[in-house]
Symmetry: D5
């Protein structure tokens, strides 16, 4: 039984061997790039039909495809939050988190931005001082609501 | 001597007493909302001219305005990363961080998105299933570069 | 300016001085007991009308009522997760969390139980071996959904 | 010698290969679903008779059945408390723990809800805004009692 | 409002000023010594009648007695687990915990020794090599039981 | 070379296969039960003569017996302090540690109970409300003494 | 009531104001220097007679002397283990701890060096490359002994 | 390629098989005992000539000798600071560290005892109450000095 | 698939077997020494041409060269920050970090020294009291700038 | 008694009120800038003569000057290592620490760069892409040496 993380390493290796970018792979399976990378690295269950396409496209064994379809535990095999590229995002939340909270509260009322009903995109922005990374996080607003099941 | 965090609490209280939203305060000082909240809560040094406007607008003592202009230590007085509204952002980075890293690398090469030359915006998106919080993080791409001073 | 936690201590003291149970206080403000205790101890913003009732009922100063209405940072002033009564709940999640996750996934698909659109209730159950504490957690199922704002 | 956690992974794999849900497996062994999943994943000792049924139903080796019957160390092989589905429960205890403690105290006196003499159930609730996950935790009340053995 | 920990410090000071040992104080209130010290230092709620005796015996203010009767959060104001006298007990559990678990399981079956229905005593033992501290922990055995409320 | 922890797992397995309880094994080697379990699981060096008896009784390889005789590092291979059965003891020390310290000081003066010159025993106590686990910790009192070698 | 740590700060200040070295103070109270500094900074209870001498010598208030005589919690008010002078000792134990353990075992058998029946001294050593700090730790060997009280 | 820690385990095993004490091994290689144990367990690079002697004396493979000569990372493969024998030394530093710092400062001025130009020795002391472990730490005093390279 | 860390160990071994210093290897690939060591140990992606030179020079397998070219996760396989040689640098930042921050702010305004557009060099300095290690960190100043992409 | 950290805050405030830069203050006391800031913020003892100059220059009370001369505990009042400006230095050590260690070893042999006999300087470097922060750390090389005091 191959775990989803190991499957992700195999997929990444096969992808590079075939000279496929993540963006191209996302086009092939017709999914957004951030979702595609996360899902193939083990952070989302992949529908069977997409797993089959990935398997065929990259020439993977069946057990890799099977691992893709399993429900993930959404924690990484190692804590990579100190990697400089990833740390900058955590630093941003540390510096601007209180401001985001205040403005979400002011605009929407008491609640949160969902991290479940949510999409993330990365694209390139331009600026005279040099190109920019633009990350858009787009999550449903969830108001604190004291609901209970009926009946 | 009033520290920047205490100054931020006083400012927030005065702002609410006068019925001013953060967005309105941002308009008055002609700065973006996320910058405005962060800076007034103590995460950025505030230029003297803006500190004076804030002081007059909110009827603050001079030492509050003076605190605003000082250089910050950009760590909060308490760790609020477990507050549900803020935690969701850290969870997103935990779940999607490896994907963001892979796509930044694919698009820009080896490097990071700057958290220093960077702006953050929050706005409201619409969707049939309910309104959405849209956070845009827009930072300069910084390639790993082994430069040294000249001469 | 009185912070929400200090306000909660004052309210709890005043409540005991008047011989009011939390359940009775919940009836007076017509809110569920768990919400009532949490909100009055500082974990939720309390609507102005309810804050006024609490203020009058307990003979509180206006600044206590004002603190009740403010937006909370939902972290406690100290970490009380090691208190035996509270620790047992964390232990239960440690022991049964993987099972809860598997069964939620099996019944609802990939997603989570919301901790925001959620209610909690405590009541007394009976059993020949002794009475029982019955805690019901009732939260909306949120499927992982890769949605984005329109337009 | 196969440890209980590895045995749990083998069982889960065999279960999925045979198309058996956890709920169906619970019916077969005539045990509640949460207990069934926890016990088969390694958190409880399984009586020999039930271990035999599981072994036959899933076509397992004898050493897997033997592992099931051993006394567990009730800690997971990795800390999965940051998985989003499981984290929400810990967040709920963080937000509502003080309220649960206050209400248990008010209703029952000084003591705790047992996490040992305790059952947990998950079911589906309905609501116009969407279906809900309903988790019921039902534990014996244990009053603080300063007893000692006789004689 | 005086918190239970501060009340405990005041009581300990008053006790020493009057030359009362903890054991003598335990005799006066007719409770076991370990319970007495723990309760007066803030780890247990003290019944009103006993709190009155303590107040009169030590000449305390009414608010100290009131603090004694409140429900405790059973965590200390500082972590004293590294104090050498206390650390030795934690080290013992670290060294012998697995053995205690194995023997409890062998003698009683799957379960725990209750830390709630439990008493602790300290007395002096004799030995040619020097006197000994004898700590007896006496807690009810609680078998893991999957019970639920009736009806 | 087999480490002491692995040797302990092998011994426990062989013991169960032969239907030997820990208590019976303790009788065979004529040592107290808690010492026996701890030593065979790797927490004490076992004298050669006893290691030989254990080897013969359980049909173990010579390298297992050799591992038993080695000097231990007295830390476990994993931290099992969160296992519910073991955690209760740590919780007891957290709740009653300050009281134990005060009473040891009052009875013996400034010092500690030795965790080295110390024995631990578990036995069954009876009580109308159910049987009880009785753990006795019996350690030499060590007064703080500022001694130095002579000469 | 003055805590022992605050008392230590007052004593250190008074000592410096009078131009007394720690070594001179140790001579006056006829105790070893390391014991003297530790005890006056709050890590040991000071006998009444010595506390009186210190009080008179330094012109302290009675409550300072009283604090000296109380039983200490032997943990500092802040963790100073990262201070460079103190850290070097912890680093030495990290680097040489396994060797110390092996040699103690080889020379004395299974056991520890007592940190309770123990003295510590600092003196100056000479060497052509520069003077040296010589710290001697002299503690009683305590063999692991499974003793119990008699009778 | 064998890492230095594994090499250390092999050396220790071979040493015991040949009935060589650490002290005898130290005599053979004409180095101090603490240095010898530390170096052979992986904490120091061993000169080629000594590594050859050790290899021949213990009948080791060449790659073990090669591992001995490599530069170490001076951190252990697992944290053994909680082992009782080693912990006592850390506790001593925790209890007496502030005193050591004060006395070093008083005797030598602002600076530290070097943990690099430093030797450690263990020997047996005698005392009527039982033999003692005497650890001598002898490190060069390094004054804080704000020097810079010339030219 | 060989990970970059394992590749680094193989490279270091091969380098030593061939008697090549890191400095010589840096000359061969015409890169600065610190960059060379970091990159070959796995902290930077190595351009294909340089990876080919390293492969040929050290007689490595192709998969080692391939590992060199992959994008790194810039976290080590183990935390070596407590190694004495490395710890001293962290201690320096702990002691002088606030001063560096104040002086960068005074000289350049609000911002940071980039750790991405940055080079590090080590060389030998001379001094009558002994040779010195001189580490130069040379990073671009990045002012806090609230820029956003255009258009 | 004013602690050194509070004294540092007062000095920084007075310095700003007088419009003195740190560099100017360093010139006045004729010390290097990094030393000056560190020492005045509490990380070094300041010689009496310099403390007097600072007191006079900034119009400070005598107890501030007295605090400057005291021996420091070299740990900050709060952990500021996560401040972005300071964190970058720690990140650099995390990324390049293993390389620094390897090159120091190659150039100097087994040992460390002293953090005690060490100076730090910050200056401005130029580069076509923007000015640079240049930090020079210049510490004495200390070889591991197993020396002991004579006689």
């Amino acid at each position: 039984m191959i775990d989803k993380h190991t499957a992700g390493l195999v997929i990444d290796e096969a992808r590079q061997d075939r000279g496929l970018t993540w963006n191209r792979l996302a086009e092939i399976i017709e999914r957004p790039p951030v979702w595609t990378v996360s899902a193939l690295l083990g952070m989302h269950p992949v529908p069977q039909a997409i797993a089959d396409v990935v398997r065929d496209e990259l020439g993977l064994d069946e057990d890799i495809a099977k691992a893709l379809t399993r429900q993930p535990v959404r924690i990484g095999p190692t804590d990579i939050s100190a990697d400089p590229t990833i740390y900058r995002f955590h630093e941003l939340i540390a510096v601007y988190g209180a401001a985001l909270k205040a403005l979400i509260h002011e605009e929407f009322g008491d609640g949160i931005m969902s991290a479940i009903n949510c999409s993330v995109a990365v694209d390139r922005g331009t600026h005279p001082d040099g190109d920019r990374v633009r990350v858009t996080i787009d999550g449903k607003f969830l108001p604190y609501a004291w609901n209970a099941s009926e009946g």
